[in-house]
Protein backbone atom coordinates (compact mmCIF):
# COMPACT_ATOMS: atom_id res chain seq x y z
CA UNK A 1 0.00 0.00 0.00
CA UNK A 2 2.78 2.38 1.02
CA UNK A 3 4.83 1.34 -2.04
CA UNK A 4 1.87 1.96 -4.33
CA UNK A 5 1.27 5.38 -2.75
CA UNK A 6 4.92 6.26 -3.43
CA UNK A 7 4.50 5.30 -7.08
CA UNK A 8 1.27 7.29 -7.38
CA UNK A 9 3.14 10.32 -6.03
CA UNK A 10 6.11 9.67 -8.36
CA UNK A 11 3.73 9.66 -11.32
CA UNK A 12 1.98 12.81 -10.15
CA UNK A 13 5.31 14.55 -9.53
CA UNK A 14 6.42 13.60 -13.05
CA UNK A 15 3.26 15.28 -14.41
CA UNK A 16 3.82 18.37 -12.29
CA UNK A 17 7.45 18.61 -13.43
CA UNK A 18 6.39 18.28 -17.08
CA UNK A 19 3.69 20.90 -16.56
CA UNK A 20 6.14 23.29 -14.91
CA UNK A 21 8.27 23.06 -18.07
CA UNK A 22 5.52 23.21 -20.71
CA UNK A 23 2.71 25.08 -18.89
CA UNK A 24 0.41 23.46 -21.45
CA UNK A 25 -2.46 22.32 -19.24
CA UNK A 26 -2.76 25.01 -16.56
CA UNK A 27 -2.33 27.91 -19.01
CA UNK A 28 -4.92 26.60 -21.44
CA UNK A 29 -7.57 25.72 -18.88
CA UNK A 30 -7.05 28.95 -16.87
CA UNK A 31 -7.27 31.06 -20.04
CA UNK A 32 -10.42 29.26 -21.15
CA UNK A 33 -12.15 29.54 -17.77
CA UNK A 34 -11.20 33.21 -17.48
CA UNK A 35 -12.47 33.91 -20.96
CA UNK A 36 -15.86 32.33 -20.22
CA UNK A 37 -16.26 34.36 -17.03
CA UNK A 38 -15.19 37.64 -18.67
CA UNK A 39 -17.51 37.15 -21.67
CA UNK A 40 -20.49 36.23 -19.49
CA UNK A 41 -19.82 39.12 -17.09
CA UNK A 42 -19.88 41.50 -20.07
CA UNK A 43 -23.05 39.93 -21.46
CA UNK A 44 -25.03 39.97 -18.21
CA UNK A 45 -26.73 43.04 -16.89
CA UNK A 46 -25.76 43.68 -13.20
CA UNK A 47 -29.33 42.86 -12.14
CA UNK A 48 -29.03 39.44 -13.78
CA UNK A 49 -25.90 38.45 -11.88
CA UNK A 50 -27.79 36.50 -9.23
CA UNK A 51 -26.20 33.78 -7.16
CA UNK A 52 -27.95 31.09 -9.21
CA UNK A 53 -26.74 32.50 -12.52
CA UNK A 54 -23.24 33.11 -11.15
CA UNK A 55 -23.00 29.53 -9.89
CA UNK A 56 -24.04 28.24 -13.31
CA UNK A 57 -21.46 30.41 -15.04
CA UNK A 58 -18.73 29.31 -12.62
CA UNK A 59 -19.31 25.60 -13.23
CA UNK A 60 -19.74 25.99 -16.98
CA UNK A 61 -16.31 27.62 -16.98
CA UNK A 62 -14.76 24.95 -14.74
CA UNK A 63 -16.43 22.06 -16.57
CA UNK A 64 -15.37 22.97 -20.09
CA UNK A 65 -11.95 24.14 -18.99
CA UNK A 66 -11.58 20.85 -17.12
CA UNK A 67 -12.53 18.86 -20.23
CA UNK A 68 -9.78 20.73 -22.05
CA UNK A 69 -7.26 19.72 -19.38
CA UNK A 70 -8.44 16.12 -19.26
CA UNK A 71 -8.01 15.87 -23.01
CA UNK A 72 -4.34 16.89 -22.67
CA UNK A 73 -3.66 14.56 -19.75
CA UNK A 74 -3.33 11.32 -21.75
CA UNK A 75 -2.34 12.93 -25.04
CA UNK A 76 0.90 13.88 -23.29
CA UNK A 77 1.37 10.20 -22.39
CA UNK A 78 0.74 9.06 -25.96
CA UNK A 79 3.63 11.15 -27.28
CA UNK A 80 6.72 8.99 -27.80
CA UNK A 81 4.78 6.00 -26.50
CA UNK A 82 5.05 7.07 -22.86
CA UNK A 83 1.72 5.42 -22.07
CA UNK A 84 3.32 2.12 -23.09
CA UNK A 85 6.23 3.01 -20.82
CA UNK A 86 3.80 3.37 -17.94
CA UNK A 87 2.02 0.15 -18.84
CA UNK A 88 5.34 -1.71 -18.78
CA UNK A 89 5.98 -0.69 -15.17
CA UNK A 90 5.43 -3.53 -12.68
CA UNK A 91 2.57 -1.78 -10.95
CA UNK A 92 -1.14 -2.33 -10.78
CA UNK A 93 -3.02 -0.29 -13.40
CA UNK A 94 -4.80 1.46 -10.51
CA UNK A 95 -1.49 3.16 -9.65
CA UNK A 96 -1.47 4.77 -13.09
CA UNK A 97 -5.11 5.77 -12.67
CA UNK A 98 -4.62 7.40 -9.26
CA UNK A 99 -1.38 9.12 -10.35
CA UNK A 100 -3.05 10.69 -13.37
CA UNK A 101 -6.19 11.53 -11.39
CA UNK A 102 -4.19 13.26 -8.68
CA UNK A 103 -2.36 15.43 -11.20
CA UNK A 104 -5.68 16.41 -12.80
CA UNK A 105 -7.06 17.36 -9.37
CA UNK A 106 -3.96 19.46 -8.61
CA UNK A 107 -3.99 21.26 -11.98
CA UNK A 108 -7.72 22.00 -11.70
CA UNK A 109 -7.45 23.22 -8.11
CA UNK A 110 -4.62 25.58 -9.07
CA UNK A 111 -6.79 27.03 -11.84
CA UNK A 112 -9.82 27.25 -9.55
CA UNK A 113 -7.75 29.13 -6.95
CA UNK A 114 -6.87 31.68 -9.64
CA UNK A 115 -10.35 31.91 -11.15
CA UNK A 116 -12.55 32.02 -8.01
CA UNK A 117 -11.48 35.50 -6.80
CA UNK A 118 -11.79 36.86 -10.36
CA UNK A 119 -15.22 35.31 -10.62
CA UNK A 120 -16.42 36.92 -7.37
CA UNK A 121 -15.26 40.34 -8.57
CA UNK A 122 -16.44 40.17 -12.19
CA UNK A 123 -19.86 38.73 -11.37
CA UNK A 124 -20.41 41.22 -8.54
CA UNK A 125 -20.86 38.63 -5.83
CA UNK A 126 -21.17 40.31 -2.44
CA UNK A 127 -19.13 37.69 -0.63
CA UNK A 128 -16.64 34.86 -1.05
CA UNK A 129 -18.24 32.07 0.97
CA UNK A 130 -15.74 29.61 2.48
CA UNK A 131 -18.12 26.77 1.53
CA UNK A 132 -17.13 27.41 -2.08
CA UNK A 133 -13.66 26.00 -1.37
CA UNK A 134 -15.06 22.70 -0.09
CA UNK A 135 -17.54 22.52 -2.96
CA UNK A 136 -14.74 23.11 -5.46
CA UNK A 137 -12.55 20.40 -3.91
CA UNK A 138 -15.33 17.77 -3.76
CA UNK A 139 -16.58 18.52 -7.27
CA UNK A 140 -13.04 18.51 -8.68
CA UNK A 141 -12.25 15.13 -7.16
CA UNK A 142 -15.43 13.64 -8.66
CA UNK A 143 -14.76 15.37 -11.95
CA UNK A 144 -11.21 13.97 -12.11
CA UNK A 145 -12.29 10.51 -10.91
CA UNK A 146 -14.59 10.10 -13.91
CA UNK A 147 -12.61 12.29 -16.28
CA UNK A 148 -9.36 10.34 -15.95
CA UNK A 149 -11.16 7.17 -16.99
CA UNK A 150 -12.78 8.74 -20.05
CA UNK A 151 -9.62 10.61 -20.95
CA UNK A 152 -7.76 7.27 -21.14
CA UNK A 153 -10.66 5.77 -23.10
CA UNK A 154 -10.84 8.56 -25.66
CA UNK A 155 -7.10 8.98 -26.22
CA UNK A 156 -7.06 6.01 -28.60
CA UNK A 157 -10.04 7.23 -30.62
CA UNK A 158 -9.68 9.33 -33.75
CA UNK A 159 -12.14 12.09 -32.77
CA UNK A 160 -10.99 12.30 -29.15
CA UNK A 161 -11.79 16.03 -28.79
CA UNK A 162 -15.44 15.22 -29.51
CA UNK A 163 -15.54 11.81 -27.86
CA UNK A 164 -14.27 12.95 -24.46
CA UNK A 165 -17.04 15.49 -23.66
CA UNK A 166 -19.68 13.25 -25.26
CA UNK A 167 -18.74 10.31 -23.05
CA UNK A 168 -17.76 12.21 -19.95
CA UNK A 169 -20.35 14.95 -19.43
CA UNK A 170 -23.45 12.71 -19.12
CA UNK A 171 -21.69 10.58 -16.47
CA UNK A 172 -20.32 13.61 -14.62
CA UNK A 173 -23.63 15.48 -14.66
CA UNK A 174 -24.67 14.49 -11.08
CA UNK A 175 -21.54 16.05 -9.58
CA UNK A 176 -21.80 19.11 -11.82
CA UNK A 177 -25.46 19.65 -10.88
CA UNK A 178 -24.66 19.20 -7.18
CA UNK A 179 -21.77 21.68 -7.46
CA UNK A 180 -23.99 24.27 -9.16
CA UNK A 181 -26.78 23.90 -6.58
CA UNK A 182 -24.39 24.00 -3.63
CA UNK A 183 -22.48 26.98 -5.05
CA UNK A 184 -25.72 28.84 -5.67
CA UNK A 185 -26.80 28.38 -2.05
CA UNK A 186 -23.34 29.32 -0.75
CA UNK A 187 -23.22 32.49 -2.87
CA UNK A 188 -26.71 33.41 -1.63
CA UNK A 189 -25.32 33.29 1.92
CA UNK A 190 -27.24 30.20 3.00
CA UNK A 191 -25.86 28.36 6.06
CA UNK A 192 -23.98 25.01 5.95
CA UNK A 193 -27.13 23.13 6.92
CA UNK A 194 -28.76 24.11 3.60
CA UNK A 195 -25.78 23.00 1.57
CA UNK A 196 -24.95 19.77 3.31
CA UNK A 197 -27.29 17.57 1.28
CA UNK A 198 -25.60 18.63 -1.98
CA UNK A 199 -22.22 18.07 -0.38
CA UNK A 200 -23.44 14.57 0.46
CA UNK A 201 -24.31 13.95 -3.19
CA UNK A 202 -20.79 14.99 -4.19
CA UNK A 203 -19.13 12.83 -1.52
CA UNK A 204 -21.21 9.81 -2.62
CA UNK A 205 -20.31 10.44 -6.27
CA UNK A 206 -16.61 10.74 -5.40
CA UNK A 207 -16.61 7.53 -3.33
CA UNK A 208 -18.45 5.51 -5.99
CA UNK A 209 -16.24 6.60 -8.86
CA UNK A 210 -13.01 6.40 -6.89
CA UNK A 211 -13.92 2.79 -6.14
CA UNK A 212 -15.22 1.77 -9.57
CA UNK A 213 -12.97 3.68 -11.98
CA UNK A 214 -9.65 1.98 -11.04
CA UNK A 215 -11.29 -1.42 -11.61
CA UNK A 216 -12.49 -0.43 -15.07
CA UNK A 217 -9.28 1.41 -15.92
CA UNK A 218 -7.34 -1.80 -16.59
CA UNK A 219 -9.73 -2.75 -19.40
CA UNK A 220 -9.65 0.77 -20.81
CA UNK A 221 -5.86 0.78 -21.05
CA UNK A 222 -5.24 -2.65 -22.51
CA UNK A 223 -5.76 -3.48 -26.15
Amino acid sequence: MKESAGKVLALTWKDILSEMRTKEIITSIAAFALLVIVVVSLALDPSERTSAVAAGVLWIAFTFAGVLGLGRSFVMEKDKGCLQGLMLCPVDRAVIYFGKMLSTVIFMLVVEAIILPVFVILLDQPRFPPQLVLIAVLATVGFAAVGTLFSALSVNTKAREVMLPLLFLPVASPVIIAAIEASSLALAGEPWSEIVSWLGVMVAFDVIFLAVSPLVFEFVLEE
Partner: protein, 244 residues
Protein backbone atom coordinates in the same frame (compact mmCIF):
# COMPACT_ATOMS: atom_id res chain seq x y z
CA UNK B 1 19.49 -9.12 -12.32
CA UNK B 2 15.81 -9.30 -11.33
CA UNK B 3 14.73 -12.65 -9.90
CA UNK B 4 12.76 -14.71 -12.37
CA UNK B 5 9.97 -17.14 -11.72
CA UNK B 6 11.31 -20.49 -12.88
CA UNK B 7 14.76 -20.08 -14.35
CA UNK B 8 15.48 -23.78 -13.79
CA UNK B 9 12.80 -24.75 -16.32
CA UNK B 10 15.03 -23.57 -19.11
CA UNK B 11 12.49 -21.36 -20.88
CA UNK B 12 12.40 -17.62 -20.53
CA UNK B 13 9.41 -17.31 -22.84
CA UNK B 14 6.78 -19.89 -23.66
CA UNK B 15 3.94 -19.22 -26.07
CA UNK B 16 1.29 -21.82 -26.88
CA UNK B 17 -1.38 -21.47 -29.56
CA UNK B 18 -1.37 -17.69 -29.24
CA UNK B 19 -4.16 -15.92 -31.08
CA UNK B 20 -4.70 -12.17 -31.16
CA UNK B 21 -7.68 -10.74 -32.99
CA UNK B 22 -8.68 -7.15 -33.67
CA UNK B 23 -12.34 -7.48 -34.63
CA UNK B 24 -12.45 -9.82 -37.61
CA UNK B 25 -8.73 -9.50 -38.27
CA UNK B 26 -6.44 -12.13 -36.79
CA UNK B 27 -3.03 -10.56 -36.20
CA UNK B 28 -1.66 -13.80 -34.69
CA UNK B 29 -3.12 -17.19 -35.63
CA UNK B 30 -1.94 -19.82 -33.19
CA UNK B 31 1.73 -19.01 -32.64
CA UNK B 32 3.86 -21.51 -30.69
CA UNK B 33 7.24 -20.36 -29.45
CA UNK B 34 9.82 -21.22 -26.82
CA UNK B 35 12.87 -19.12 -26.02
CA UNK B 36 15.51 -20.48 -23.67
CA UNK B 37 17.27 -18.43 -21.02
CA UNK B 38 20.18 -16.51 -22.46
CA UNK B 39 19.08 -17.19 -26.04
CA UNK B 40 18.90 -14.49 -28.72
CA UNK B 41 15.95 -14.75 -31.11
CA UNK B 42 15.52 -12.54 -34.16
CA UNK B 43 11.99 -12.31 -35.56
CA UNK B 44 11.65 -11.24 -39.17
CA UNK B 45 8.58 -10.68 -41.26
CA UNK B 46 6.96 -8.17 -43.58
CA UNK B 47 4.74 -5.37 -42.29
CA UNK B 48 1.54 -6.79 -40.83
CA UNK B 49 3.08 -10.20 -40.11
CA UNK B 50 2.33 -9.81 -36.38
CA UNK B 51 5.83 -9.02 -35.04
CA UNK B 52 4.84 -5.94 -33.05
CA UNK B 53 1.64 -7.60 -31.84
CA UNK B 54 3.70 -10.50 -30.52
CA UNK B 55 6.09 -8.14 -28.70
CA UNK B 56 3.13 -6.20 -27.29
CA UNK B 57 1.66 -9.39 -25.86
CA UNK B 58 5.00 -10.59 -24.47
CA UNK B 59 5.47 -7.20 -22.83
CA UNK B 60 1.91 -7.31 -21.34
CA UNK B 61 0.77 -4.19 -23.18
CA UNK B 62 -1.79 -6.17 -25.16
CA UNK B 63 -3.79 -9.18 -24.03
CA UNK B 64 -3.95 -12.41 -25.99
CA UNK B 65 -7.36 -13.32 -27.41
CA UNK B 66 -6.57 -16.96 -26.66
CA UNK B 67 -3.61 -19.21 -25.94
CA UNK B 68 -1.08 -19.29 -23.12
CA UNK B 69 1.87 -16.97 -22.66
CA UNK B 70 4.50 -17.26 -19.96
CA UNK B 71 7.31 -14.72 -19.55
CA UNK B 72 10.15 -15.18 -17.07
CA UNK B 73 8.25 -18.12 -15.59
CA UNK B 74 5.10 -16.11 -14.94
CA UNK B 75 1.82 -16.77 -16.70
CA UNK B 76 0.59 -13.47 -18.14
CA UNK B 77 -3.04 -14.23 -17.31
CA UNK B 78 -2.46 -14.12 -13.58
CA UNK B 79 1.03 -12.78 -12.93
CA UNK B 80 1.48 -9.99 -15.43
CA UNK B 81 2.84 -7.55 -12.82
CA UNK B 82 5.57 -10.04 -11.81
CA UNK B 83 6.31 -10.80 -15.48
CA UNK B 84 6.83 -7.08 -16.15
CA UNK B 85 9.72 -7.08 -13.67
CA UNK B 86 11.46 -9.65 -15.87
CA UNK B 87 11.39 -7.62 -19.07
CA UNK B 88 12.94 -4.54 -20.54
CA UNK B 89 11.47 -3.19 -23.75
CA UNK B 90 13.04 -1.02 -26.44
CA UNK B 91 10.85 0.00 -29.36
CA UNK B 92 11.28 2.54 -32.16
CA UNK B 93 9.59 4.97 -29.75
CA UNK B 94 11.71 6.03 -26.78
CA UNK B 95 8.95 5.86 -24.14
CA UNK B 96 10.65 8.90 -22.59
CA UNK B 97 9.14 12.25 -21.67
CA UNK B 98 10.46 14.99 -23.95
CA UNK B 99 10.36 17.80 -21.41
CA UNK B 100 12.18 15.88 -18.70
CA UNK B 101 15.93 15.31 -18.74
CA UNK B 102 17.39 11.85 -19.25
CA UNK B 103 18.22 11.75 -15.55
CA UNK B 104 14.68 12.77 -14.53
CA UNK B 105 13.19 10.17 -16.87
CA UNK B 106 15.39 7.42 -15.46
CA UNK B 107 14.69 8.57 -11.92
CA UNK B 108 10.95 8.42 -12.56
CA UNK B 109 11.06 4.96 -14.12
CA UNK B 110 13.48 3.79 -11.42
CA UNK B 111 10.94 4.71 -8.76
CA UNK B 112 8.21 2.89 -10.64
CA UNK B 113 10.44 -0.23 -10.75
CA UNK B 114 11.67 0.11 -7.13
CA UNK B 115 15.29 0.10 -8.31
CA UNK B 116 17.63 -0.07 -5.30
CA UNK B 117 20.50 2.46 -5.07
CA UNK B 118 18.83 4.34 -7.90
CA UNK B 119 21.27 7.25 -8.21
CA UNK B 120 24.23 4.85 -8.55
CA UNK B 121 22.40 2.67 -11.05
CA UNK B 122 21.48 5.68 -13.20
CA UNK B 123 25.09 6.91 -13.12
CA UNK B 124 26.33 3.46 -14.17
CA UNK B 125 23.85 3.17 -17.05
CA UNK B 126 24.46 6.70 -18.32
CA UNK B 127 28.16 5.89 -18.47
CA UNK B 128 27.42 2.68 -20.41
CA UNK B 129 25.30 4.46 -23.00
CA UNK B 130 27.71 7.41 -23.08
CA UNK B 131 25.18 10.06 -22.04
CA UNK B 132 26.73 11.33 -18.81
CA UNK B 133 27.49 14.74 -20.27
CA UNK B 134 23.89 15.18 -21.46
CA UNK B 135 22.14 13.75 -18.40
CA UNK B 136 20.48 17.05 -17.43
CA UNK B 137 19.38 18.10 -20.91
CA UNK B 138 15.73 17.66 -21.85
CA UNK B 139 15.25 14.54 -23.94
CA UNK B 140 13.79 16.62 -26.78
CA UNK B 141 17.17 18.32 -27.26
CA UNK B 142 18.99 15.01 -27.79
CA UNK B 143 19.61 13.55 -31.24
CA UNK B 144 17.53 10.54 -32.29
CA UNK B 145 20.48 8.23 -31.66
CA UNK B 146 21.07 9.66 -28.18
CA UNK B 147 17.36 9.35 -27.37
CA UNK B 148 17.45 5.71 -28.36
CA UNK B 149 20.50 5.15 -26.15
CA UNK B 150 18.61 6.77 -23.29
CA UNK B 151 15.74 4.38 -24.10
CA UNK B 152 18.12 1.44 -23.69
CA UNK B 153 19.18 2.79 -20.30
CA UNK B 154 15.49 3.01 -19.37
CA UNK B 155 14.84 -0.55 -20.48
CA UNK B 156 17.79 -1.96 -18.51
CA UNK B 157 17.32 0.19 -15.42
CA UNK B 158 15.88 -2.67 -13.35
CA UNK B 159 18.39 -5.15 -14.81
CA UNK B 160 15.80 -7.41 -16.46
CA UNK B 161 16.82 -10.92 -17.54
CA UNK B 162 14.70 -10.61 -20.71
CA UNK B 163 15.06 -7.85 -23.28
CA UNK B 164 12.44 -7.29 -25.98
CA UNK B 165 13.55 -5.15 -28.92
CA UNK B 166 10.87 -4.07 -31.38
CA UNK B 167 12.58 -2.57 -34.42
CA UNK B 168 14.81 -0.44 -32.21
CA UNK B 169 16.82 0.91 -35.13
CA UNK B 170 13.89 2.53 -36.96
CA UNK B 171 14.72 6.13 -37.84
CA UNK B 172 18.41 5.79 -37.00
CA UNK B 173 21.20 6.27 -39.51
CA UNK B 174 23.54 3.34 -40.09
CA UNK B 175 26.22 4.56 -37.67
CA UNK B 176 23.74 5.25 -34.87
CA UNK B 177 22.11 1.89 -35.53
CA UNK B 178 25.44 0.06 -35.27
CA UNK B 179 26.26 1.95 -32.08
CA UNK B 180 22.88 1.00 -30.65
CA UNK B 181 23.37 -2.68 -31.40
CA UNK B 182 26.92 -2.60 -30.00
CA UNK B 183 25.65 -1.08 -26.78
CA UNK B 184 22.86 -3.63 -26.46
CA UNK B 185 25.29 -6.46 -27.25
CA UNK B 186 27.79 -5.35 -24.63
CA UNK B 187 25.05 -4.90 -22.04
CA UNK B 188 23.50 -8.30 -22.74
CA UNK B 189 26.55 -10.40 -23.59
CA UNK B 190 24.75 -13.73 -23.15
CA UNK B 191 23.47 -12.69 -19.72
CA UNK B 192 20.03 -11.82 -21.01
CA UNK B 193 17.42 -13.45 -23.18
CA UNK B 194 16.86 -11.21 -26.19
CA UNK B 195 13.91 -11.24 -28.56
CA UNK B 196 14.32 -8.78 -31.40
CA UNK B 197 12.06 -7.89 -34.29
CA UNK B 198 13.76 -6.19 -37.18
CA UNK B 199 13.54 -5.63 -40.91
CA UNK B 200 17.31 -5.89 -41.17
CA UNK B 201 18.22 -9.51 -41.84
CA UNK B 202 21.93 -8.72 -41.43
CA UNK B 203 21.41 -7.11 -38.05
CA UNK B 204 19.18 -9.89 -36.76
CA UNK B 205 21.57 -12.55 -37.97
CA UNK B 206 24.58 -10.84 -36.41
CA UNK B 207 22.86 -10.26 -33.11
CA UNK B 208 20.89 -13.44 -32.51
CA UNK B 209 21.68 -17.17 -32.56
CA UNK B 210 18.23 -18.17 -33.71
CA UNK B 211 15.89 -16.78 -36.37
CA UNK B 212 12.15 -16.97 -36.86
CA UNK B 213 10.05 -15.70 -39.74
CA UNK B 214 6.49 -14.62 -39.10
CA UNK B 215 4.11 -14.40 -42.03
CA UNK B 216 0.40 -13.59 -41.85
CA UNK B 217 0.30 -14.20 -38.11
CA UNK B 218 1.95 -17.62 -38.20
CA UNK B 219 5.45 -18.95 -37.64
CA UNK B 220 6.51 -19.68 -41.21
CA UNK B 221 10.12 -20.67 -40.56
CA UNK B 222 12.40 -21.31 -37.61
CA UNK B 223 16.12 -22.07 -37.53
CA UNK B 224 18.47 -22.44 -34.61
CA UNK B 225 21.66 -23.13 -36.51
CA UNK B 226 23.92 -20.57 -38.09
CA UNK B 227 22.57 -19.27 -41.40
CA UNK B 228 24.39 -17.21 -43.97
CA UNK B 229 22.74 -14.07 -45.22
CA UNK B 230 22.07 -15.28 -48.76
CA UNK B 231 20.29 -18.40 -47.47
CA UNK B 232 18.26 -16.30 -45.09
CA UNK B 233 17.28 -13.92 -47.91
CA UNK B 234 16.14 -16.84 -50.02
CA UNK B 235 14.20 -18.40 -47.14
CA UNK B 236 12.65 -15.04 -46.30
CA UNK B 237 11.52 -14.55 -49.88
CA UNK B 238 10.14 -18.07 -50.09
CA UNK B 239 8.08 -17.79 -46.92
CA UNK B 240 6.85 -14.21 -47.13
CA UNK B 241 6.72 -13.65 -50.87
CA UNK B 242 8.50 -10.38 -50.18
CA UNK B 243 11.80 -9.49 -51.76
CA UNK B 244 14.71 -8.32 -49.69
Amino acid sequence: MADSGQQADGCAIEVERLVKSYGDFNALRGVDLKVKWGEGLAIFGPNGAGKTTLIKILSTIAKASSGRVSVGGFDLRGDSVKARRQIGVVTHQTLLYDELSTYENLRFYGKMYDVPHLADRIRELLAQVDLESRRDDPVRTLSRGMQQRAAIARALLHDPPILLLDEPGTGLDQRANEMLINIVSSMCNGRRTVVMTTHSLEQGLAFCSRVLILARGNVAYEESGKLDISTLREVYHRHTGAGY
